[in-house]
């Protein structure tokens, strides 16, 4: 057993990142029952927006100042694209059979990827992103926390807390709950459901932008393809936690992240399992876990919010 605390920290940080992106899937699904497969690309565009914001800043700006600017820049880009997508790609198809917006989402994700590939300067190769410099934090003898991991581990719970309060306490948040439960009745009660739907897209996109900044700071690079696999993982996290449930997204993300980290580190140490361990099998184990959870508990770990609509 090497360095269990270290591997747990890796899993938690990865899971928090999945969770941040998963919010976007789960909120949109909770309100319009649409799986927005272009959300991974919204995340990617958040990263490029943050990079643009960083490049606009005078060189030599410390990360302490740059990070808030990058988050704002990334959020502006991703929220802009997400709301435009909602307006022009999804709203015309509301009321159409569910397959139609799903296919639109897949098409949109390809379009967004190719737009960045074609028009963002130098985006054909991975673009370097400002990275945390300096040593990682030493917590114990065998546990180091890298700066980027610390960043996402602090920021993700804060974002969740803010979202939780917003949904529970604010007027718009309650309107959102009402729309999720029954859009037609909500409309009759004077709620502007179109506005609520746009809001769901926007909040998801802003969270994805925060995730993209955390991702860039950790890996030191972003590229136009990065949304695909991360989007798929985040979607898995949302389903694992119970799609439609915002806390479920975070829980699902963390469970998925831990499953990946631990399977990479320990499965091959089980006698007879050497062939099935290591980094190459992490995704397999993550999806095995998903299947097992869905077999035992089809509504996901924390249950679907939409279930009470039936």
């Amino acid at each position: 057993m090497h360095e269990l605390p270290q591997q747990l920290a890796n899993g938690l940080a990865l899971g928090a990142l999945y969770g941040l992106i998963a919010i976007g899937y789960t909120m949109v699904y909770g309100i319009v029952q649409l799986i927005n497969f272009a959300h991974g690309e919204i995340f990617m565009i958040g990263g490029f927006g943050a990079l643009t914001a960083y490049l606009v800043l005078p060189s030599g700006t410390t990360l302490l100042v740059a990070i808030p600017v990058m988050i704002i820049g990334g959020a502006l880009a991703s929220v802009g694209v997400a709301t435009a997508a909602e307006r022009f790609a999804y709203r015309p198809l509301r009321g159409a059979p569910r397959l139609a917006p799903l296919i639109t989402a897949i098409g949109l994700s390809i379009v967004l990827q190719q737009l960045i590939w074609g028009f963002y300067p130098d985006a054909k190769k991975p673009r370097s992103f400002p990275e945390f410099q300096g040593e990682s934090f030493k917590i114990f003898d065998n546990l180091y926390l890298q700066r980027a991991d610390a960043f996402v581990l602090v920021l993700a719970p804060l974002c969740m807390l803010a979202l939780g309060l917003f949904v529970a306490k604010s007027r718009s948040g309650r309107a959102m709950q009402a729309t999720a439960q029954d859009p037609d009745t909500a409309k009759l009660m004077g709620i502007n459901t179109d506005r609520i739907i746009v809001m769901a897209f926007a909040i998801g996109a802003a969270f994805a932008a925060v995730g993209a900044v955390a991702y860039g700071l950790d890996k030191g690079q972003i590229n136009f393809e990065m949304g695909f696999i991360l989007g798929l993982k985040a979607f898995t996290a949302a389903v694992l936690g119970g799609i439609g449930n915002i806390y479920g997204a975070m829980v699902g993300g963390v469970v998925l992240g831990l499953a990946e980290a631990l399977s990479i580190a320990y499965i091959e140490e089980i006698p007879g399992m050497q062939q099935l361990g290591g980094g190459a099998w992490a995704n397999v184990w993550a999806f095995v876990l998903l299947i097992v959870v869905l077999l035992v508990r089809p509504q996901g770990l924390l249950g679907e919010r939409v279930a009470d609509r039936a």
Partner: protein, 410 residues
């Protein structure tokens, strides 16, 4: 019903219009040929033009284009005008196979340069063999492509007579890397990671065998998945294993991140890889942490070869959007080898392209011999290059510096 008839009518009209335009364009092309009295010969290019390996692919495409342009300018083959047709395989074997079929279908294509990835080459070889269309890869390094699946046991058998390459194989490259790491860098405990692809896994296996033979120890192995980006768990395994170096079999997107993440754990050890990580993007994409990492690549550094000066000057003169990258010199030589083979075939046939030009070019290719950008270009009985020069590069101050160039000795 009215809608359906409308649909049928539209379809019929569109089809008709398309057929007409197709005929029209063919006539146009013929008219052009008559006026210049030149036969157009197309050199196909199949490389990733999109995706994370596009930096390498664009370099290959441009270098072959330069070879075709140079041949036209010098009137290298009288009566023949060279053109290139570049297709994007996205580094995906299935796309490569589809492109191969497309190139075979174009009767003007007389030779193909590419692909970049050994895994893609595997899917294309038999398509080209059936059409007797010659294929010269500037970058494939997996030995099985030219020496058969049992090359490891010493049973060399050439599987496809249409396949040639200007790149040395991984047998040469992997052993060269192991010798450098053990003898020159004095490393004894290596952790080996690969990406499970034809190229990466093959290279890692050859490296490991040679490193063990020399007396070194492989303290652990792991595999990563292509396009994944989080390798922190693997990095922590490397750190816990107390290895003094890492060997990575794979390409630069994963290699750069892996090296970065290993260094972030606090393990101050170099990562070494093959020509797949020898690219500026390996360094630029991952902060400043790559100093001290190694890569092997085939041939001597292009910038240092006197034969390459003209190539570099010509390349700059055309002002391509992308640099020639790691395989530029080999790609130019691969394109030039096709030109030379066509030249030999045309010379034998009274200055005209024969009916069975494709098959003749395959024959001529095995006898090609000239001084190229990367040195002497010629092929052995397996279609492999006879050039066995290699170089080890090291990252210093955000650029690759060559630290040792030599001709490989077993």
């Amino acid at each position: 019903m009215r809608h359906r008839s409308l649909l049928i009518l539209t379809t019929a009209l569109t089809t008709g219009a398309l057929t007409l335009t197709a005929c029209g364009s063919r006539d146009d092309a013929k008219g052009g040929d008559d006026s210049s009295k030149k036969t157009t010969v197309v050199i196909g290019v199949d490389v990733p033009l999109t995706g994370s390996l596009s930096a390498l692919g664009q370099g290959i495409k441009n270098s072959v284009d330069l070879a075709a342009k140079t041949a036209n300018k010098n009137n290298e083959v009288p009566g023949i005008e060279f053109k290139i047709e570049a297709l994007d395989d996205q580094a995906v074997p299935a796309s490569g196979q589809a492109n191969a079929t497309k190139l075979v279908g174009n009767k003007d294509v007389i030779g193909v340069v590419g692909p970049l990835n050994s895994g893609v080459a595997q899917s294309m070889q038999s398509v080209f063999e059936k059409a007797s269309l010659v294929q010269v890869s500037p970058a494939n390094t997996n030995p099985a492509l030219s020496q058969g699946d049992n090359w490891g046991k010493g049973e060399l058998k050439r599987p496809f007579k249409t396949y040639f390459r200007t790149a040395a194989t991984d047998v040469v490259q992997g052993k060269f890397a192991a010798q450098y790491l053990y003898n020159d860098a004095k490393k004894r405990k290596v952790y080996v990671v690969d990406d499970k692809q034809t190229y990466g896994a093959g290279l890692a296996a050859i490296f490991s065998a040679e490193f063990k033979r020399l007396g070194g120890k492989v303290v652990g192995t792991d595999h990563v998945t292509v396009k994944e980006t989080d390798f922190s768990s693997t990095a922590d395994k490397v750190k816990a294993s107390k290895a003094d170096s890492v060997y990575f079999g794979g390409q630069y997107p994963e290699g750069g991140l892996l090296s970065d993440q290993i260094k972030k754990t606090g393990a101050k050890i170099p990562t070494m890889g093959g020509d797949g990580i020898y690219d500026p993007a390996f360094i630029s994409a991952s902060g400043v942490a790559n100093d001290g990492d190694f890569a092997t690549s085939i041939g001597y550094p292009v910038e240092k070869l006197p034969t390459a000066k003209k190539f570099i000057a010509d390349y700059e003169a055309v002002k391509y959007d992308d640099p020639y990258a790691a395989y530029g010199g080999y790609s130019y030589d691969a394109g030039w080898a096709v030109v030379q083979a066509v030249k030999a075939v045309v010379a034998e046939n009274d200055g005209k392209l024969p009916e069975d030009a494709r098959a003749k070019v395959v024959e001529a290719m095995s006898k090609v011999s000239f001084d190229g950008v990367t040195g002497k270009v010629a092929f052995d009985q397996y279609g492999d290059t006879t050039n066995k020069q290699l170089t080890v590069y090291k990252v210093e101050g955000k650029v690759w510096k060559d630290v040792k160039s030599a001709t490989f000795k077993d």
